[in-house]
């Protein structure tokens, strides 16, 4: 980031290369809409580019980037809630990818099952309160430490542990039947 500060566009490109995938996926899991997630990620990167002259090395870049991204995601969700009166992330998704055409019936069934399991996970994540959802996504998918998540969410490490404890408790209940199904499939 210090090199980007000096106006090194090539260096910004490398930063983009490193963070593009995790940031877009984090935002996609937050707002559950690929196109919106990409717009938000671009907004976050644009802020990085604009702030390159003022960036100080004291704030860890990942924390700073995810802090901006999280705020953008929460703003976006809030705006969408206002637009629709009430937004449910689990309502029919506009950006759902079409199922691949499967030649064999077995493949198609597997594809449908996979899609169904994914939908269950999406809904379980969507049902979490905003900060719990953000904490889980950073912890599980971005492999961020409690301290990093605390830095992003602007709370203490113990508050993050508490958030995660409650979130995983809810997920254990919401996803319990999936474990049963997995066991049944394994026994077949």
């Amino acid at each position: 980031m210090l090199r980007v500060k000096e106006g090194d566009v090539e260096c910004f490109g490398r930063l983009l290369e490193k963070y593009r995938l995790p940031l877009v996926n984090y935002l996609n899991r937050m707002v559950q809409h690929q196109a919106v997630a990409e717009e938000l990620a671009q907004d976050a990167f644009l802020r990085v580019y604009r702030a390159r002259a003022t960036y100080e090395p004291t704030a860890k870049f990942t924390t700073w980037l995810f802090r901006i991204a999280t705020r953008l995601a929460l703003n976006s969700l809030r705006d969408r809630r206002h637009e629709r009166g009430h937004l449910s992330l689990s309502e029919p998704r506009e950006d759902r990818l079409p199922l691949e055409v499967a030649d064999e019936r077995g493949n198609r069934e597997q594809q449908l099952l996979k899609e169904s399991r994914l939908e269950t996970v999406r809904q379980a994540i969507a049902a979490l309160p905003d900060k719990q959802r953000a904490a889980v996504l950073m912890h599980k998918y971005e492999e961020m430490s409690y301290a990093q998540i605390a830095g992003v969410l602007g709370c203490s490490v113990s508050a993050v542990k508490s958030l995660l404890f409650r979130a995983y408790e809810a997920l254990r209940d919401a996803l319990a039947h999936m474990s049963g199904e997995r066991k049944a499939r394994a026994e077949k």
Partner: protein, 155 residues
């Protein structure tokens, strides 16, 4: 291994698999003697496996192109002073710099002329124009993050 350490491993997505053999044996031995914790471990393993169903998706192929389309107009606008003084040229800058250095040398010995010496005013002299732009951007971000911090931890 304490119960708290075992709990930390259970709640870590990389906890179990990342343990070395001796630690893993100790971890599993502890679970054998603590059925409630073992049940929690198995349910949490189910959560990790379920969450793994949601795989990463590659961003659109034109992601970078769209981003740089947004960046270029901002970069093309150039420094803010060109918007105020469109005819500004480097030769003006040299002259202005010489003038400021002279004025600075005169004022340096004038009591209270250094903003750091003016107490209680809260005023700060700004020498770096990019710094001002940065402050505006930072204030924008701070406003956004203050709103964010105001959200309750539960949601």
């Amino acid at each position: 291994m304490t119960r708290q350490e075992v709990l930390e491993i259970i709640m870590d997505p990389r906890g179990g698999p990342s343990l070395g053999s001796p630690a893993r044996r100790e971890f599993l031995a502890y679970l054998e003697g603590d059925p409630p914790l073992r049940a929690l471990y198995e349910r949490q393993l189910g959560v990790w496996e379920s969450l793994d169903e949601w795989e990463s998706v590659e961003p659109s192929l034109d992601f970078d192109r769209r981003l740089f389309e947004k960046i270029e107009p901002a970069a093309a606008r150039g420094p803010w002073y060109l918007a105020i003084f469109p005819g500004f040229r480097p030769s003006f800058a040299v002259g202005l710099a010489a003038l400021l250095i002279t004025a600075g040398a005169v004022l340096r010995h004038h009591p209270g002329s250094d903003p750091r010496e003016v107490e209680g005013t809260g005023l700060v002299a700004v020498e770096d124009t990019e710094y001002v732009d940065g402050l505006h951007a930072a204030l924008d971000d701070i406003e956004m993050l203050v709103e964010f911090d105001a959200l309750p931890l539960g949601g």
